[in-house]
Each structure stands twice: as C-alpha cells, then as structure tokens.
C-alpha cells in the first residue's frame, strides 16, 4: 500500500497522471501564505489580461497589458504549475507579447490538465500557437473546434477574430508553399535580448537608425555599414531622453530623421536635422492642425518631402491606420489635413508602420489585415501614377512574413536589402531587427567551351630527326715494298713477273714486272692483309715471299732484293707461304696458293722432279723435330699428289733442325729455319 501511494505521488509529481490542481487550501496546507499570494497575483493578472483582451478585440495593440499580466501570473505559476486555468492564462498572455513562441507549452499543459473540462477558449489560443508554428492545418482545426465548443455569447465576440485567424491559416498554407527569392537573416550585431524596432536605412544602405529598449526605455541608436557588417553602434545622445525616444524614418540621404514624441498625452511627429555629426533639437514636422486628434507615430518621408505618411489612431474606429498629410511645395509652411491612404491600404485591423520607397510610388506597410498569415505582416502596394491611387497590397511572403509580427519595413534604393523587425523565434529575444536580402534576377552560372584552333598545337607532328651515321672507311696504311729481282748467282738484274696475292682469299692483288735493266720493282700494299708474293722468270725457279701486315700498321717501307734461282738441279727454294699450326702437320688453307704455284711449275716443267723437305728450328727434341718435319713434308707431297702431280716426281723428307739457314739464337732466325723447301732433283 505504501508502495502504491509512493508510486502515485511520484507519478503525480512527474505529471504522468497530471491532475488539475486548484488554488485551494486543501492543496497547499503547508503554504497558506504562498497560496494567498498566488491567488492575489492571479487576480491582478486577470485584470490586466481582461484589459489587454478588450484592446485586442478592439484591434488595438495591448502587449503592455499582457506583459504586465505575466509579471503577476508567472510567480503564481511557479507556486502551482499544474493549474489548467493559470497555464491557459500564461499562454494567453505570452501570445500577445513579443515572445509569443513561449505560449505553446502552457497552452498544451492547460488542455492536458483540464481535459474535456478545459475552457473552450484554450482551443482558440492553441490555434494561434499552432499558427505561429506554421502548423496551419492543426491551427485551423483548433479554431474550428473553438467555434463549436464556445458558448454562443462569447463566440459572437470572438467570431470575427476566429474567422480572421482561419483565413490567415489558409493564406499561410498558400504563401508558405511559394518560394520567394529572398533571404532573411537576424542582424546579430544590432540586437539584444530586449526589443529592437523601427530600423530605417539611408537610400544607399550605408547607415541605419533604429530603437532599442535594452537600457529600460526606448532609445535611438545609429550604426554604419562597413564591409558587410554594421559597426560603430552608438546611442544618439542628442536625441535620447530619460523617457522613450522612438525614431521612425531616416531620410534617404541620412540628413533628417522623423521621430514621434509624446506631448500633452498625445504623440506627434517631429523632425530632427543632422548638423555635422550631431542631431539637432526635434521640431514639429507638420502643422499642429494635422495632429489635432489621435496619436501620430511611425512616419515615413516622401521623396519630395512635401508629404508625410504616418500611422495614426485618430480615425473613426480608433484603430491604427495609415494616413498622410501634404503641403503645396517645399517652401510652404502649412500642411494639409490628415487624410487616409485609402481603403485599399487601411483595413478594419491594425496597420502598424509605413515606408515610402525612394521612387515615391511604392509603399511598404505593415498590417494585421489583408492576406496576413498571422500578426502584422509586411505588404507592398504600387501607386497608379495616372489615378494616384494605391493598388491592392501584396503580401511580401515568406520568409519576410511569418505568423509572428513583422513591422517597420525599410528598403535600400537598389531594392537589394531591406530591414524590418520581427518577434519570431530564434532571435536574440523580443523584437529583433532582420535583414531581407533580395536575390534579384537569378545569377546564371557561365559555361565555357574551348577549341584547339591551331592544328600544330592541337596535334603536333613529332620531329624525330636523328642525324644519319656515315660509313666508316677504315684507314689502311700502306706499306711500300720495293727492291730488285736479281739472278741469285750472278747478281744480274732479272726481268720477272711479280704477283701479289691476298693469302686469305687467294686473289691476285697486283701483277707487275721488274725492270729488265735494273731488276727494280716498287709497289704499295695496304696493311691488314696477309700477302704472298711470287716472282717468276723464265729459266728460274719461282720465288715466294710473305708479308703479314696487320691493321693499323704504321707506314713502313720494305726494301728487298730477291734472288731468283735458276732451275738448275740442286736449286733450293723455300716455300715461305706454306703454313702449319704449331706442332701440327696439317697444311693450312692459307698455303694452298703457294702450293698451287708449285704445282703449276711442275706442270709447266714436266721434267722437273723435286724433293720436298721439312725443316724446324732447334727448339724441342731432335726426334720430335725430325718426325714433325717429315710429317709436314709428307703432307705437302700429299697435297701435290692429290692435285694430280705424279707422285714419282715428288719425294718428301724431314730434316728436323739439321739444316738451318739462319741462326737459331734469334727469333727471326728460328722463323727462317722453320720452313718447307723444295729442291730440284731432276730437270
């Protein structure tokens, strides 16, 4: 049981099973004094709430009454937050202050606490709260529900307002569905937690004047625009007094200012002029006759400054309307009677402020009527220049207008930026100044194209030139070979045929004859070849010489006398162009030309018989040398026989190192001793 009670108490305190707690002694036994205070506060609050409500019904601004009512209600609310009626009253009061967005939680709690026993009026109030949150469908349902629940007598009083709100909801739904090309930003550098109202800018948007009650009373402030920021925020001390000082319109050139002051219980419009940097003493703007009845407050210059448009409550209904007064010309001192701006502009509801654009034919004003979507909205109307009449007002749309209050619209001459005040949520607090930036014509991004107009740049033809190489003619140096052909016996000059052979190819390189008188010969041979030289003369054995001229040999001259041997029996000829590999007995192919010449000799002289002999130097053993020399002589014989030389005409013998023709002590000598010879054995 104790547990259930505890749970119930806990639930109650959490509001889960919220109950409407009346301000009765039985509910506050422990704090009777607090209860009495709370009840007194509620009473006082109720008086002000009623006053305020009457003003609302009379289409008159009443936020002061509601602010004051809150001052009484909120302490009572703190004492007992769970009373349906009190929650409703708190919400009600908030809705008509500059913080209407605070109303919703109280109204919802009121309905929750009261349930079916709730005051029908809470639905009307909830409708307003939903409207502020742009839940137009829900809002309209609430207003309709109110219409069905309220008693006919009270409903009669609120019928007009209820219908108005339902109309606003329909307008709101329509307007919020339309995208407008404007941004709205809170001007943080100017706003405070209190109210900032009535911003007015110069035509070029470089200066602003506005009002704030952040110090308690409303004072006039000014600021300059530098690099897209408002700077040098300062109080206009020459105009501010201990009471409320409210400016309404700055002249397009920033040199004059309209403000209103309360004199003898009535507000009138004054003008101050800028002397250097100081604002002068305000003087009555228009003739006193203009301002006989009612209060003239927020006013606007006309470009020619022969008219002033202003808000006045001096009309028949006592609600605020837009009027104007004019004079003949600038020099004229007397202003004409106040006249209504016309029925297109003024409504049966409140008109809150007016601003004439620098073109003189565009009027911006604020109204709770027309197609407002809630509270005051900003409208624009264009004057028909011919008829001089103002056209049907157009709602500036969202995001400038919301279900909250939007007032005091002022726009730059280029139409790019405008400033106004609003008590919408999300600001610094209370009424805040907002800046509307109009996008203007859409800025179209630019697309770009490009072309490769020059072919040689677009598609360069590659130049891959490389110098050609040239054929290298290997420089063969020449060796001069000169000498004489002599009879070996008599040393007489012999005219002989000299043939030069390229031993590697067997081809004849040159053929010449020695001089018959001198036996001389002279020729040049390119280096890099192995040459055979044969010398033939009639009656003589042919002679052979070998030159091996490797490449790169330096210039050389060989001077040689060649002794020819006649073909006498016993003549011996060394075959210098017969070659063997070291230690071997195979006749090398380089030897064939020489041997072929010997064969030719044998053929030419059929009676010739020869002995082929092989000889070595003295290097190595005697037996080896003899064997080698014999094998070599045999090899040469074999070659001759294989070439059809009668074997009977050729004998072969190896003499080893026994018959040297030169010294074995020198390399050259040993080379000369290593030879193949043939000897004429018969002729």
């Amino acid at each position: 049981m104790k547990q259930i009670t505890t749970l119930l108490a806990l639930a109650l305190s959490l509001g889960v099973f919220a109950q409407d707690v009346a301000f009765k002694k039985g509910n506050f036994k422990d704090d009777k004094e607090g209860l009495e205070t709370a009840k007194k506060n509620i009473e006082d609050g109720d008086v002000l709430l009623e006053k305020g409500e009457q003003k609302v019904l009379g289409m008159v601004n009443a936020f002061e009454e509601f602010e004051e009512a809150l001052a009484f209600y909120l302490p009572a609310q703190e004492f007992n937050p769970n009373n349906s009626d009190l929650n409703r009253k708190v919400g009600h009061a908030y809705l008509y202050t500059n913080t209407p967005y605070l109303a919703m939680p109280y109204l919802e709690k009121s309905l929750e606490l009261g349930g079916e026993d709730s005051e029908p009026f809470v639905h009307f109030l909830l409708g307003k709260a939903y409207q502020l949150e742009r839940d137009f469908e829900k809002a309209e349902r609430s207003f309709k529900k109110y219409g069905t629940l309220e008693n006919p007598k009270k409903l009669e009083v609120y019928k007009k307002l209820n219908r108005k709100h339902m109309k606003e909801c329909r307008s709101g739904a329509e307007i919020f569905g339309v995208k407008t090309r404007v941004w709205v930003d809170n001007v943080k550098e100017l706003n405070s937690q209190q109210d900032e109202i009535a911003p007015s800018i110069t035509a070029d948007g470089s200066e602003i004047i506005f009002n704030s009650n952040k110090t308690g009373n409303f004072d006039i402030y000014t600021a300059e625009r530098k690099k897209r920021r408002w700077v040098r925020l300062s109080s206009v001390n020459s105009l501010n007094t201990e009471g409320d000082d409210v400016s309404s319109s700055l002249a397009y050139d920033g040199q004059r200012l309209l403000l209103f002051k309360d004199t003898d219980g009535q507000s009138d419009i004054y003008e101050s002029k800028l002397n250097g940097t100081t604002w002068g003493e305000p003087e009555l703007k228009m003739s006193k006759v203009v301002n006989i009845e009612g209060n003239e407050t927020f006013a606007s210059y006309d470009p020619q400054d022969i008219k002033v448009y202003f808000v006045s409550d001096g009309g028949f209904g006592g609600d605020q309307n837009i009027n104007f007064s004019g004079k003949k010309d600038m020099e004229e001192k007397f202003w004409g009677q106040s006249q209504s701006a016309g029925q297109e502009i003024n409504t049966g509801f409140q008109e809150g402020s007016v601003y004439m654009a620098p073109d003189g034919n565009t009027m911006y004003f604020c109204s709770q009527g027309h197609s407002s979507i809630g509270g005051y909205d900003v409208f624009v109307s264009y004057r028909d220049e011919e008829l001089g009449l103002w056209g049907k007002p157009i709602n500036m749309g969202y995001p400038i207008n919301t279900p909250f209050d939007e007032l005091y619209f002022s726009i730059s001459a280029n139409g790019k930026k405008a400033y106004f005040a609003s008590n919408r949520g999300g600001g610094a607090g209370g009424m805040d100044i907002y800046c509307a930036t109009f996008w203007g014509e859409p800025k179209q991004p630019t697309v770009a194209s490009e072309d490769n107009l020059i072919a040689s740049i677009a598609s360069p033809i590659e130049d891959t030139y490389t110098p050609e190489t040239v054929e290298v003619t290997v420089a063969n140096s020449l060796t001069v070979f000169k000498g004489r052909i002599l009879d070996g016996l008599l040393q007489d000059p012999v005219e002989a045929e000299i043939k030069i052979f390229d031993n590697s190819t067997g081809e004849v390189y040159a053929v010449m004859r020695s001089n018959s008188a001198t036996g001389k010969f002279l020729l040049s041979l390119p280096s890099g070849l192995n040459y055979g030289i044969s010398v033939e003369a009639e009656g003589y054995l042919f002679h052979s010489e070998n030159f091996n001229l490797p490449k790169g040999s330096a210039y050389n001259m060989i001077n040689k006398d060649i002794q020819l041997k006649n073909i006498d029996i016993g003549s011996k000829i060394a075959l210098r162009n017969v070659f063997f590999d070291t230690g071997r007995a195979e006749v090398k192919i380089d030897s064939y030309p020489e041997l072929d010449r010997l064969i030719q000799l044998m053929t030419d002289v059929p009676s010739l018989k020869i002995e082929l002999s092989g000889h070595t130097d003295n290097v190595g053993g005697k037996a080896a040398n003899e064997s080698l020399s014999q094998r070599r002589a045999d090899a040469v014989r074999q070659y001759l026989v294989s070439r059809s030389v009668d074997g009977n005409r050729v004998t072969a013998k190896g003499y080893g190192s026994s018959r040297p023709v030169d010294s074995n002590a020198t390399k050259e000598g040993r080379a000369n001793n290593r030879r193949t010879e043939f000897e004429i054995t018969a002729n």
Binding site: T446, S449, D451, L453, A455, P467, V472, S477, S524
Partner: protein, 360 residues
C-alpha cells in the same frame, strides 16, 4: 723522356739512312703513300667522330653532340652535314642564336640544303623572334617555293599575333602548294572564325576534315557551326569528333555546353560527366558540371566541383565567378564577394557587377 727522344731520333735517322737509297721518284712515291696514309686515317677519324656525334644526338646528349661535331668541323671545315647537325643540336639545347649562325654556315657550304634555312626559321620561331622568323621563312620560300610547311608556320605566327589577314594569306600559300594540307585548311578556318566569317570557316574545316579526319578538326567545325547558330550541325560534328577519338574530352565538354544553352540539362550533365570521367582534372568540365548542379539547386555538389576547378586553375575567372554565385546561395557572402572581386581582377566584368551589387 730523353731516352725515348734519342730512340725516336735514331729510328728516324735509321729510316733516313734507308731513305737515302731512294731515288727522287721513289721518295716522291713514298711521300705520296705517306700522304695517302695520313689522309685515310684522318678520314676514318672524321667519320668515327661524326658517328659518335650522331649517337650522342640520338641519345639527346646535345652538349656532347655539339662538342663532337665541333671536332669534326675542326678536322674538316667544309663538312656541311656536321655544321647542319651541330646547328640542330644547338637548337635542341635552346642555343638559338648560335644555332642560327651554325645553320647559316651549313647553308653556305651547301646551298641545296634548304633544311638549314627551315631550321633557322624555326630557331627564330621558338625564340619568339617572330619578325625574324617570318623573314627566314620568306627567304626559304624564295629559295624553294614548294616548302609548304614554311608557309604554314608563317601562318601560325601571324595567327598567334592576331594578324588574321596575314595568317590567311600565309595559309593560302601553303594550301596552294598542297591543296590537301589539312593543317593549313584547319588553321585558315580558325582565322575566318576569328573574323566571324563562319561560312568560310566551315568550308575550310570541312575540307580539312576530308583530308585528315582528326577529332580536333571535327570539333572546330562543330564550334564554327555553333557560332553561326546552327546547333544541330554543331551537335552532329561534336559527335563526329567523339567518333574519331572516343577520349576527346573537349568534344564532350563543348557538346555539353550546347545542350546547356538549349536547356537540355540532362544531356549536358551526361556530357560533362563523361568529359570528367576521361580527364578528372578537366577544370572547365568541372566548372560546367557545377553549373548544372547549381541550376538543379544542388549547391553542395556544385561547390565541390567548383572547389576542384579553382584548385586546378586558381586564376580561372569563370570558375571563380561561378563559385561566387554558388557560395552566395549557400550564404557564404564573404566568400562570394572574395570570388567576384578576384574574377573581376582577372578581367571578368560580371565579377565587378556582382561585387558592386552585392558586396558594397
């Protein structure tokens, strides 16, 4: 050292002693053989050095090539080819003044080597001495009126100097030498386009394309049609450019802009995307795709592309202008103003207009 010298003297003396047996005729013969030997060795050295110089050239080692050709020239001062190739190596090394002089020497040694004159002109051209280049090309054309490339290159110089009439004359000369000279036809078309004579431009581009169906020629043709207002033909020939080269991103981009201007945004987007797919660093296409995204109110996507474009080309005035526009829609007014100011500084008047109207 002294011993070596003594030995050499002895050898020479010994040689001389041998030589003292020679007759006058034999001495003369011997000397002639010696001269032949020296000449042959010299010739071999010249040829080997020349080939080494050529190899160095082929390996792009131009300083070495120049040095070796100098050696050849030192051995054989009448070697026109060595002068010519040395000149080319100097040109490759951007030693243009020296190259011109060397090539002149080559030509003086071989007056049939018109290549030397051509390369001289190219030296002036590459060294941005346009007037001298023109004179050099004219000299070549006087010597050999059939040198079409000389006339063409003249045309390019005039075109880049924006002297379109002279350029047309030069290209026409090249075309008269070779009526199928696609490059000259293309470039002459570009001259006509610059002079806004689009019919002539189209005619030349068509002939160029018939001769050499390269993508850039089709692209130029398409752009000429576009300039003349014939968007249908423009699209047709951009497609042909793409057929000629499936990776010619420029044609995709250009066709995309035609689609954009005719409000076929889906097709435009497709083309810009393709251009970027081919070349992810194609700043112009990134900028253009951003324009589509902006039109579709995809400002975040547009900004991403524009950031890339500006990063690639910090002085791209169009990209900066467009980024400013997108930044404005994203409420970065300071950033937008900064971009428009810069766009104006880079010569875009629209930047000034936007800055004045929105930033002051």
């Amino acid at each position: 050292m002294l011993l070596t010298l003594f030995f050499l003297v002895q050898t020479a003396f010994a040689q001389e002693q041998v030589d003292s047996t020679l007759t006058t005729e034999e001495i003369q013969f011997r000397d002639s053989i010696a001269a032949i030997n020296t000449s042959n060795e010299r010739m071999q050295l010249i040829q080997e050095t020349y080939n080494a110089a050529s190899s160095a050239f082929a390996e792009s080692n131009f300083s070495k090539s120049i040095s070796l050709f100098d050696e050849v020239i030192a051995l054989d001062s009448s070697n026109a080819d060595a002068f010519y190739n040395k000149g080319l190596a100097q040109k490759e090394s951007k030693q243009y003044t020296e190259a011109v002089e060397t090539l002149e020497q080559a030509f003086s040694l071989d007056a049939t080597n018109f290549d030397a004159l051509f390369q001289q002109a190219k030296c002036y051209d590459e060294n941005k001495e346009s007037d001298k280049a023109i004179v050099a090309y004219d000299r070549l054309l006087s010597a050999d009126p059939t040198w079409g490339e000389a006339a063409y290159n003249k045309g390019v110089i005039f075109y880049l100097d924006k002297d379109y009439q002279q350029a047309i004359a030069a290209y026409s000369q090249a075309i008269s030498i070779n009526p199928n000279y696609a490059y000259a036809l293309n470039d002459r078309g570009s001259c006509h386009r610059a002079l806004e004579d689009y019919d002539k431009a189209i005619s030349d581009y068509l002939k160029a394309a018939q001769s050499d169906a390269q993508a850039f020629i089709y692209n130029n043709l398409a752009s000429a049609y576009r300039k003349s207002g014939n968007t249908e033909k423009a699209i047709e020939f951009y497609a042909k450019a793409i057929s000629a080269d499936a990776n010619y991103e420029m044609a995709y981009n250009n066709r995309g802009t035609v689609y954009f201007e005719t409000e076929n945004y889906d097709l435009a987007l497709k083309d810009f995307k393709k251009a970027i797919e081919i070349n992810a660093d194609y700043a112009m296409a990134l900028c253009n795709r951003a324009a589509i995204y902006h039109m579709q109110e995809n400002y975040t996507g547009a900004l991403a592309d524009l950031e890339s474009a500006v990063k690639l080309q910090p002085n791209n005035a169009t990209a900066l202008l467009n980024r400013g526009i997108t930044r404005e829609m994203l409420r970065n007014v300071d950033g937008a103003c900064e971009d428009w100011q810069k766009a104006y500084d880079l010569g875009m008047e629209k930047g000034k207009e936007y800055y004045i109207n929105n930033c002051e």
